[in-house]
Symmetry: C2
Subunit: 339 residues, 2 copies
Amino acid sequence: MARRPNPKLSDVARAAGVSLATASRALADPGLVRRETRERVQGAASMLGYVPHGAARALATRRSRTVGAVFPPVDNPIFAAATQALGHQLATAGYTLLLAAHEYDPSAELAVTRALLERGVDGLVFVGMDHDPELFTLLAQAGVPYDLMWSLDPARFHPCVGVAHRMASVRATQHLLELGHREFAVIAGHTAHNDRTRERLAGVREALAARSIELRPERIAEAEFALPQARAALRLLLERSPGFTALVCGNDVLAIGALAECASRGIAVPARLSIVGFDDIDMASGVTPALTTVRVPAAEMGRRAAARMLARLAGGAVAHVEELPAEVIVRASTGPAPR
Amino acid sequence: MARRPNPKLSDVARAAGVSLATASRALADPGLVRRETRERVQGAASMLGYVPHGAARALATRRSRTVGAVFPPVDNPIFAAATQALGHQLATAGYTLLLAAHEYDPSAELAVTRALLERGVDGLVFVGMDHDPELFTLLAQAGVPYDLMWSLDPARFHPCVGVAHRMASVRATQHLLELGHREFAVIAGHTAHNDRTRERLAGVREALAARSIELRPERIAEAEFALPQARAALRLLLERSPGFTALVCGNDVLAIGALAECASRGIAVPARLSIVGFDDIDMASGVTPALTTVRVPAAEMGRRAAARMLARLAGGAVAHVEELPAEVIVRASTGPAPR
DNA sequence: TTGTACGCGTTATCAT
DNA sequence: ATGATAACGCGTACAA
């Protein structure tokens, strides 16, 4: 079937018997026109099924009412809640979220960012602190505001909203120390290009070092955020250096995987092994009371990021670094079994 | 600091000493200009840090190189893998994914779709079959191609790529029947505005009905896709109508929750209760060999959806309805315990 | 309150 | 192979 081209504003104007300018005003800022003309225009618009042409509008106003998000994909389900909250809040304010993922490769990140800038995004959101310096050159050059989510910039240079992974990790580890544990192991997420996993691991080290306890290299395993990999990591740890009574997992998926491995080996949790994990996707806290978790406020982070960006786009000021609480939630844990 | 406006194509042209038209061609279709001029233009472009203005281009070409995805948010982690695959494939072809979520509310879906159309998306992807009829009116009017993901249109009216939820559910149930189970219970995802959950539930009913086995209403519980809710659902079932030996869960999150509840009650799985679940986010298959799962090829679905859309945008034809396999993966299951 | 006319940055259609 | 110029659809000074 032959399709007529979509009606344009001039069609609406003609149908309403007004000029282009009046039609534009009637739809964009109804307060500027007489009630009667406004209604005629709005009537004509909905009669014709008029849909504004965003590109033309963007060209004229030099704003696109879109915000771009650049996310690493590997641990993508981790960002689902935050992405959703972000998009939802933006939509409420008439903005649309442009989503771009990249493999964990800084140059790819640059490329997708460039693509978003071409699309004319009004603002950008990134994850974490690990980025190609050139990225920030690009952003400055484009004059586009940005936020880094999830982490807090230690240098307080970049605007960001996130949690203090390291301190949360320290506190979780201290909890285990206070229970009397001295033999620790860690299953961490891969630390390459990922400051969140690095900081979480560093927190364990820091808390242990404060009590002069060493975290032996063979008691550390890195794993992908997936259940089979987590199970394999625990097997590796048990094989390489058994005898630990406390296990810190960089993530809820890792914690659940470890728990599953324990179950299949008859290792009682938390009686014989205490496990704590960061609850990135809110799985660990629900699956069992046997795990102690660090709550990561993902959805809230998305909402805050949206609010910050919207405020800034509206010309307002926002806190440069915004810290959200990551509480340690003790569901169950016991001290080490006596030798 | 005072920011100069971004360089435009005319700036590049001037710097290269060529006309606007030549500059445009040199960047867009390098084959059309002499090698030497092309290099002058490209040099000038990168010198100036030129970034094309997408809105202007979209206005001139009447294409945005953008595809929109409209997702329900409730079970959002479920779509993470598909979203990522979709976005990644599109990016590879120079397209960007515009993401919009909505509460499970058909009118909200219409609104966000309208927002995406205003942004000038070249194509749209939706989830499932449950949509406001007006949505399709809108799409037809806009002349924008679309695909429905996850499900298959029984009426074969809408273009879609997905799995046969009902048949997969039938096969999973048959598996349990063949083991000798006769007493079934179901924990389903909420069925309102969600054809996937409805079809999965219907599949159980269908398989049982074929053997003249009734699925009693008190043996059916609906729950949100979250662990605590799944546990509560199992408690409810056990309280309302104990005695079932097989449990079909509409989702891996539900299955894991049920498994956790079993663990805390000392119900052996699969020895005393066989559980099967759809593996939406690929959790169930990894956490334990105790569960039988139906594999949902989420990432592949995202890739296929992208491929279909790209082919169509390039003027090619694609299968109207594309079915992806959802295999039943038996990890472990046993027949019912003798009475 | 409404209308006229120009500009937004790019591509595409003509000439040359 | 290159250059001049007219769209593309909308917002907005400025004029009326």
